[in-house]
């Protein structure tokens, strides 16, 4: 791999990974806020409205971060991946432009109304503003996933004589089965992040013995939504995604599972370290025949190993892919256990008193971020060495005239700037959490602008 290609890959990987820390929370929270507003309308209990306001502020901070780190993403297709953009613009230009026209305007118009228009809009009107923000952010996610899904599983296109991809069916592109599966899995992951963050802050308040009523509301809302999301994340979305991938990207599946050789009754490797040189797993802990069963429903079915594919088509970083997938799947399983237990205690009416459970819920805060990041890493390192799966390789897509030095220069710039953003974000989030729900504006805060960055 030449230097420039490596730099461009790190450039995109770094900026998109940092960016996705924020939308996963805002997309999850936007649904939870609509749920809180609905509960308020139905029960008239003011604690739900106070909760909605608190989480709206958290949403605002995260949304601003998501936007300022998201703008570079739209530019980077052209700046760092120009040959890819030229070749595929006839197809994925469609969803990317639609994202701007359909969701960015929707979000920026209604976010200000939602964050600061509660008195003017009234209860029902404010519910609709929350809903518009939710619709905008979920729509935005959809168009991004459609773009990625087309790279993973290109359909509804034809190629011109010069090799450019041109769309042939608009609805075919938007209803790409890969996109629908990936979208439900991704959004469900975002809801998991939202509900774990909500329960973690709720548990923190109970452990700190403050904002008790609010903390309890956070806990019960977060746990109920969280347990549903955690189950749906595995069955059916994760299961479908895995099987669809095994069918369409068998090389990626083999690398994810660390299956170097084709096997009947293939085992599932639970733990271990893959070594691409010797083509084996060190220190393996395996569950026999489970992989064949998961993919085909038959314990003795044949699963293709990496030996079936030319080495040039192997994912470029098998260990990274293997670990990303295992971290994602392992954490996904853990989430079901944690949320299931919490839901059981909630049902028994003892969750608020069970301090060890509150500790666990609080300490779980970073885990969904890790799981979501690992999930995207699985999808995107599994796509390697392709940009458009099976059709266009990564080394044919980057900007030829932007050399490694320029790419590194701007990568370092982004690293510096994003470090500042991270510090600012933690500072603002910490202030908000310390200040807590209820009350008015934060001390010393004069809202310069009613709506955050759109």
């Amino acid at each position: 791999m030449d230097d420039a290609l490596l730099m461009h890959r790190i450039h995109f990987g770094f900026t998109v990974t940092f960016h996705y820390l924020f939308p996963q929370l805002t997309m999850g929270l936007s649904l939870l806020i609509v749920i809180l507003k609905t509960l308020y309308l139905r029960t008239d209990n003011p604690v739900y409205n106070r909760a909605a306001r608190f989480w709206a502020k958290m949403f605002g901070i995260n949304f601003a971060m998501g936007v300022v780190t998201g703008i570079p993403m739209e530019f980077q297709f052209g700046t760092n991946w120009s040959r890819f953009s030229q070749a595929t613009g006839g197809v994925i230009g469609q969803p990317l432009a639609m994202e701007g026209v359909f969701s960015f305007f929707l979000e920026s118009a209604f976010l200000g109304l939602f964050l600061h228009g509660e008195r003017r809009l009234g209860r029902v009107g404010h519910w609709w503003a929350a809903f518009a923000v939710f619709a905008g952010s979920w729509l935005s996610g959809f168009f991004v996933v459609v773009t990625d899904a087309w790279m993973q599983h290109p359909i509804a296109f034809e190629r011109t004589a010069e090799g450019l991809f041109q769309i042939t069916s608009f609805w075919g592109l938007l209803t790409n089965p890969w996109a629908l599966i990936q979208y439900s899995h991704t959004m469900c992951g975002a809801v998991i992040t939202g509900s774990f963050v909500m329960t973690a802050i709720g548990a923190y308040y109970l452990l700190e013995d403050k904002f008790l009523e609010d903390g309890r509301a956070f806990l019960r809302t977060g746990v109920v939504v969280g347990v549903i999301a955690c189950i749906v994340q595995i069955l059916p979305t994760g299961d479908l995604h895995g099987r669809y991938m095994a069918f369409h990207q068998p090389a990626a599946t083999a690398a994810m599972e660390g299956l170097f050789r084709t096997e009947y009754g293939a085992p599932m490797v639970l733990l271990g370290q893959p070594d691409p040189e010797t083509q084996r797993i060190d220190n393996p802990v395996v569950a026999n025949k489970v992989l064949s069963f998961l993919i085909y429903g038959v314990p003795t079915a044949q699963v293709k190993g990496l030996n079936e594919f030319p080495k040039s088509d192997w994912p470029t970083s098998i260990p990274l892919l293997f670990f990303s997938y295992h971290i994602m799947a392992g954490l996904g399983t853990l989430f079901i256990a944690v949320m299931g237990l919490a839901a059981f205690l909630l049902w028994r009416g003892v969750l608020y008193r069970t301090r060890w459970m509150l500790w666990i819920l609080m300490l779980c805060l970073p885990l969904p971020y890790i799981a979501n990041t690992a999930g995207w890493l699985t999808a995107e390192t599994g796509r390697q060495p392709w940009l458009v799966y099976g059709l266009m390789r990564v080394q044919d897509g980057y900007s030829k005239y932007v050399h490694a030095g320029n790419s590194l220069f701007t990568l370092l710039g982004f690293m510096g700037l994003y470090s500042v953003l991270a510090v600012l974000f933690l500072f603002l989030a910490h202030r908000l959490i310390t200040h807590g729900p209820g009350g008015g504006a934060l001390p010393g805060v004069t809202l310069e602008t009613p709506n955050a960055v759109a």
């Binding site: 109304l113 900007s399 005239y401 602008t449």
Partner: protein
């Protein structure tokens, strides 16, 4: 028999005539993309102008805050036009997006950083009541806005001057070489520096016109005094930059010679420029602001009219020019895009009309009202 025209890929999409499909679609999308980018410049232009202005017109921290508050509720919605316009550009003319964005790599990255800094400066200034914090935020806002205005002007200058397109229609420009306009220029040369200064002055004047509309008292007087100085500078700079353009690119007049009706565009630019001054003399702040909107919009329209059908011209070989025809997406994509684009922009207009109605008249720079619009 296969259809003769190669660009027609989705033949089941029957359009009225071949002419409509082959000739009109690229023109329509050229106009739509130009309109979206012009909307961005006019709308975010006054935000940038206020950013520049608040560095030297405001005397106290209260006055600074008043100026920031005038754009507070709208600046982020205005910035969306850049994103939507950029996305639409990518969709309609992928080759232009790919070649232009990678060729202008360094200035675009700098623009991204400046957009981030400016946004943070505006949003965070009020979060902590401390002179140092405010200083940093206002600095980010003011300096970010100044440099963005210069870079936007220089970008337009680069497009007009042309870039050294290679046979594969890609290029890469360093930030500067010897500041000469030659076959191998940098992003900044004497011509694009002039364009950058024109943009800085024009946007600052635009911002001053907007701020005059939104402020009162002492600050209003100072803003208007700044506007009249800026106006004189802009008249001189507009003449200089037009002369410089014709000097380095005499062919920019070709379209105008072929279709003399186009000369109405520079006439509107001149009228808007004079109108701005007359209106603000009369004390008609709204009229002055509308004139400066028209000035900016028609400067861009005039440049677009001169360029068409070229999107990016080559300084080395005119045969390599990127045009609407060689950069466009397929017929089917552009046709289906027209349907959703129309729906999407109609919806967006609906949202903003609703939101502005919701908050009409309540946004006052001097009240402590936290709700806005």
């Amino acid at each position: 028999m296969a259809p003769v025209e190669a660009p027609c890929l989705a033949s089941r999409w029957k359009l009225p005539t071949r002419w409509l499909r082959v000739c009109t679609m690229p023109l329509i999308w050229f106009l739509l993309v130009a309109a979206m980018l012009a909307a961005y410049v006019v709308l975010d232009g006054f935000d940038l102008g206020v950013g520049v202005l608040h560095l030297f017109v405001a005397r106290t921290k209260e006055e600074r805050r008043v100026l920031v508050r005038t754009i507070g509720p709208v600046w982020d919605g205005n910035e969306v036009w850049l994103l939507a316009g950029g996305g639409t550009l990518y969709f309609a003319f992928p080759l232009l997006y790919a070649s232009g964005f990678s060729g202008f790599y360094l200035p675009l990255m700098i623009v991204l950083w400046l957009l981030i800094l400016r946004g943070l400066g505006i949003e965070l200034a009020g979060h902590v009541d401390s002179p140092v914090w405010r200083g940093i935020c206002n600095g980010c806002f003011g300096i970010g806005s100044t440099l963005l205005a210069v870079f936007y002007g220089a970008a337009l200058g680069n497009v007009i001057r042309g870039v050294p397109l290679q046979p594969d229609r890609y290029f890469f420009l360093p930030l500067w070489t010897d500041f000469n306009v030659g076959p191998a220029p940098g992003i900044l040369d004497w011509y694009t520096v002039i364009s950058g200064i024109v943009a800085l002055v024009a946007l600052t004047l635009h911002g001053a016109n907007y701020a005059a509309l939104k402020t009162e008292g002492d600050l209003n007087v100072r803003v208007r005094r700044a506007a009249s100085t800026l106006w004189l500078a802009l008249v001189a700079l507009t003449v200089i930059s037009l002369a410089a353009t014709l000097l380095i690119r005499p062919d920019m007049l070709d379209n105008y010679k072929q279709l003399p009706a186009l000369f109405v565009i520079p006439a509107i630019v001149a009228a808007a420029l004079i109108g701005t001054r007359l209106m603000s003399r009369k004390g008609d702040e709204r009229g002055a602001f509308i004139c400066s909107c028209a000035y900016l919009a028609f400067m861009l329209v005039g440049a677009a009219a001169a360029l068409y059908p070229n999107l990016l011209t080559s300084t080395t070989d005119q045969a390599l020019n990127i045009t609407v025809n060689n950069a466009r997406s397929g017929d089917y994509a552009l046709t289906v895009g027209l349907a959703w684009w129309t729906i999407g922009v109609a919806l967006a207009t609906g949202y903003f009309v609703f939101v502005y109605k919701m908050f009409r008249g309540k946004m006052s720079a001097t009240t402590e009202e936290h709700e806005g619009y």
